[in-house]
């Protein structure tokens, strides 16, 4: 541009930039946009289309174990055979509906407890001095970097029959027989809260940190008791953090596999485990695909809420 502009206006032949440069100026941004767009499209979005297709297929005894829904007939007619039996099966066999509801309940209550524990933690960090804040954030983030699988396994060492928790409670005389927590539903709750607590604290901290303290002072000056100021000022202003944190815990918790599989009992039927078994033990891929699709349909709502708040926060 600078070269073209600096030429005298009377110059007879206007300066033409080389064709490549002009092309780059108009379409060059696609060199940046296209690779991630194409990659995620092929390896993240397209797979859902394949799952949808296979959910309409029949179970067969070949490799891979499902039929083609599109077949070319004898007289070159393309036949589309949609088999809705997999979906019908999901709603006739109780196990899927029950496990889905059970997963929802488990995820809901663990998210609630995470919020009740995480909110005061985030609040305390937000009110600390800047230097302490950095240390505390580091402390909260650090477990997030260590292995998820190993942390769930580590929890086993605390809550098992001869674990630390029972040892302490027995020695304090609070209980007389060891608590049998392993392979129970409370163990699954504990596992989810333990694993996902940092996901709750961080977005909450992000919104609470930005909160203007003078608003609270104003509320106090106008005669609000602290609890009233909290309900009227702090809580509404921290709603984006509450929603982002809750969704970050709730959505993955519904589909959680590792925690119920290690800490939960054999009849703990969370949807993730049912799917896993359908896949690896029963090898019924069309039904597994149908379960995934139905599951996904139910997730669209919560994901959209999360997306909405997340994008707004990132772009503000």
């Amino acid at each position: 541009m600078t070269i073209a502009d600096s030429r005298p206006a009377s110059s007879p032949a206007p300066y033409r930039r080389p064709r490549f440069a002009r092309w780059m100026e108009r379409h060059g941004k696609w060199l940046i946009i296209a690779p991630p767009l194409a990659y995620l499209f092929v390896f993240f979005l397209i797979p859902f289309a394949f799952a949808l297709k296979i959910s309409f297929a029949d179970l067969t005894l070949r490799v891979p174990p499902f039929s083609d829904i599109l077949t070319v007939g004898a007289n070159d007619h393309i036949r589309l055979a949609l088999n809705f039996a997999n979906y019908k099966y999901l709603f006739t066999d109780d196990v899927y509906v029950l496990s889905y509801l059970y997963s929802l309940r488990t995820a809901f209550f663990s998210t609630l407890i995470c919020l009740l524990v995480g909110y005061p933690m985030a609040y305390a960090i937000a009110r600390s001095s800047k230097s302490l804040q950095n240390v505390l954030l580091m402390v909260i983030i650090l477990p997030f970097w260590t292995s998820f699988l190993l942390r769930v396994y580590a929890l086993e060492g605390i809550i098992q029959e001869h674990g630390v928790l029972n040892w302490v409670l027995l020695h304090l005389g609070l209980i007389h027989r060891p608590l049998m927590l392993m392979q129970t539903t409370p163990a699954v709750y504990l596992g989810i809260i333990y694993s996902y607590l940092p996901y709750m604290v961080l977005p909450l901290f992000a919104t609470l940190e930005k909160l203007d303290a003078s608003l609270l002072e104003a509320a106090a000056d106008l005669g609000s008791p602290p609890w009233r100021a909290f309900l009227d000022v702090t809580l509404p202003l921290s709603m984006p953090g509450v929603i982002a944190g809750s969704m970050l815990v709730f959505i993955p918790a519904i589909g959680e596999f590792v925690i119920p599989s290690i800490l939960g009992g054999p009849n703990n039927l969370m949807i993730g485990r049912v799917l896993w078994d359908e896949f690896f033990s029963n090898r019924d891929w069309p039904v597994a695909a149908a379960v995934s699709i139905v599951f996904l349909v139910f997730l669209v709502g919560p994901i959209a809420i999360y997306q909405h708040y997340n994008v707004k926060q990132l772009e503000s």
Binding site: P36, M121, I125, L150, Q307
Partner: protein, 281 residues
Amino acid sequence: MDQRASPVLMTILFAGIAFLYLPMLVLIAYSFNQSALVSVWGGFSTVWYDRLLHNPQILDAAWLSLRIAITASTGAVVLGTLAAIALVRFRRFRGRFLLTGMVNAPLVMPEIITGITQLLLFISMLNTIGWPHRGALTIVIAHIAFCTSYVTITVQSRLQSADRSLEEAAMDLGAGPVGAFLDTTLPIIAPALVSSWLLCLTLSLDDLVISSLVSGPGASTLPMVIYSKVKLGVTPDINALASLIIALVGACVLIAGATLRRAERQRLREQQFAERSEAAP
């Protein structure tokens, strides 16, 4: 906010932190237990570490996991950074909505769904175009897909706060757009690139569900070996392995954090110095 937190709040905070750390500390203590039974303290010993270092199954799996993680996080940093630049710098383009969705959805998508759908894709691809064979390659492809999101989110917020005037100044001085970006903005987002690369490394090293689903026979990553051992029962060598991983990751995060913070402070100081020398004629 600058009001003191009440003692009650601080107590909850420290109880929460204790809750996060206690299981890991107990695990480390168990790893030095001579007895194979968790219930009995058989005296201090490093026998399980010794056993671990002579277990070819675990060592092979660890080496495979490391190679997969390095490849996947490098790929994800490249793709994720491009996506972040696209989302921050080009306000309007066809597919922006799609890209935003595809970047944010993997963060909350249950792994089991991502894994199953990707497996179905790989199977269908193998049937029609004969590629890719399931194994380390499909694990890498799947890991890049979910790691890219984490990179984009991290780099995006960093890019947004980056001052564009430096880049414009470089372009006024004759640099091309790419050169200007590399010379001025890249150093500013470099810490975000490093930290997101490290984050992808740990996410990939840790992934069990997606890896198990998309992997083929013969490619067992470390989490897959750990999971099958944990499901089988008494696993004192896994205690040792877990302690090593926790110690290693802890040390890396602390060092990386300190280094990044120092680099950042250095950069801010230089910037201030430059501004001050500009102001004084």
